[in-house]
């Protein structure tokens, strides 16, 4: 009797209808469409987990396996990753703001009021963009400090430290160029103060200021220049450098889990190996 019920239950669970209702995902995973897009075996075995990394474009920035020590929160406090997430938030919220912004005087300022009053979620998205920008500057600085005190700029990571300094400069420039765009008193005078220094650059002098602002003062040309730098040139440069930075992190063996035993930085040069290859 009991066997019969179990057998019946098993048959029911195996039936197409039951599967379609209670496990629609399983059914979809057997379709040719899904199998053509996702080619790795299910990630419930070590092989499946490795293949999940190998076969996914978006995961190829990660290695298949990471040192166990790096997984812990205290290895890096995840500062670089948090900065990257903030950059992603800025990228997305910034695109939304671009739909409602004209880099012209005085329309730029009116657009700020439109964002606050007529655009759906306009003020909210502007707030997100502003606070994540400030947070990104803070997190990038804290990241720099953490890396310094961990000694993680030492061989073989000297170059990645250099790339990181470049990313710091780009972050500050992005924040500074974005500061002007609302075209209110706060923006205007902050950028006037900030760019007045450019007039003292050796050799170039006033010409440096002229190149930066497109004129002697902060005006319509400066607004347009800052806009183009802010939404195109600097994000593109930062994205590219960020890719190099993260790629190097991976190539240099992630944080510093490899140093615990010896107390010394890893060997500066990759040891030569006797390698023979077919000609």
């Amino acid at each position: 009797m009991a066997d019969e019920t179990n057998g019946g239950r098993r048959a029911l669970r195996g039936s197409e209808l039951y599967q379609a209702i209670f496990h629609p995902g399983e059914r979809f995973k057997r379709t040719e469409l899904y199998r053509s897009a996702v080619r790795h075996p299910p990630p419930d075995t070590p092989r499946g987990r490795a293949m999940t990394s190998f076969h996914n474009f978006f995961l190829h920035i990660y290695p298949v396996a990471v040192p166990r020590k790096v997984v812990g929160w205290r290895a890096t406090f995840r500062l670089g990753f948090i900065a990257t997430v903030l950059f992603a938030i800025l990228f997305i919220s910034g695109m939304y703001l671009m739909f409602f912004y004209h880099p012209a005087i005085p329309q730029a300022y009116f657009d700020m009021h439109n964002l606050a009053t007529t655009v759906a979620f306009g003020q909210f998205v502007r707030n997100i963009h502003r606070w994540s920008a400030h947070l990104m500057v803070v997190v990038v600085f804290v990241h720099l400090f953490r890396v310094f005190y961990a000694g993680a700029y030492k061989a073989p990571r000297q170059f990645n430290w250099l790339v990181g300094v470049g990313l710091l400069i780009l972050t500050l420039l992005l924040s500074f160029t974005g500061y002007l765009l609302p075209w209110d008193q706060l923006a205007f005078w902050a950028v006037t103060v900030g760019t007045s220094i450019a007039g003292y650059v050796p050799l170039l002098g006033d010409r440096a200021q002229q190149i930066l602002l497109g004129g002697p003062d902060v005006g319509g040309d400066a607004l347009l220049r800052f806009y183009v730098l802010h939404i195109y040139a600097l994000p593109a440069a930062l994205t590219l450098m960020l890719c190099v930075h993260i790629w190097r992190v991976r190539k240099d063996g992630f944080a510093i889990g490899d140093r615990e035993e010896t107390g010394e930085a890893p060997a500066e040069e990759t040891p030569a190996e006797e390698v023979t290859v077919g000609a």
Binding site: V71, F124, H129, W131, A152, K154, Y179, L186, A272, A279
Partner: protein, 169 residues
């Protein structure tokens, strides 16, 4: 069509010094799979970051003053907070020194740091000199930034933030 060689030809690319040859390899058990162990943690951090930003965006509105007016100077024109230290420095030195040479020197020092630090170890006790220099410079930058950002009012006069806050984000 030439026939492919029967045996592959080899050439020497390098020779391994003896001590490196016997170096023990890293334990393979020391690693975990990125999927799911690392990715799950990244997902949590990303979600928390988004949550913090959303909370800030709900709690505080981005500032918006009157429209920019070149003829109306505000009581104090402050650079963004991360440049407040430089602005404070401008108060003491001429613009050539404070605005150009000091930040340029700081950036060059920062960029050259891994190449200046010739200490062998990575621990702080192995490289006291560079840690002291860096810490002193960093503290100076932080103090200048706090002074310039929080403690300065009209005409760059000394105004503590509990009397009046002139810093805008």
């Amino acid at each position: 069509m030439p026939e492919p060689p029967k045996e592959p030809r080899y050439r020497l690319l390098g020779v391994v010094p003896r001590e490196i040859e016997v170096r023990p390899k890293q334990e393979p058990e020391d690693t975990v799979f990125t999927w799911p162990h690392f990715l799950v943690r990244h997902a949590v951090i990303a979600a928390l970051t988004v949550a913090v930003v959303f909370a800030l965006a709900i709690a505080f509105d981005a500032p918006l003053k009157d429209m920019a007016n070149p003829n109306l100077t505000p009581p104090v024109a402050k650079a963004p907070w991360y440049f407040a230290g430089l602005q404070e420095l401008l108060h003491y030195f001429n613009p050539m020194v404070a605005g150009v040479l000091a930040p340029a020197a700081a950036l060059v020092f920062l960029a050259a740091l891994p190449f200046l630090d010739r200490a062998k170890g990575w621990r702080i006790r192995d490289r006291r000199m560079v840690v002291i220099v860096f810490t002193v410079l960093a503290l100076a930058a932080v103090i200048l930034t706090v002074r310039g950002g929080l403690f300065r009012g009209p005409e760059w006069s000394w105004v503590p933030p509990w009397e009046h806050m002139y810093l805008e984000l």
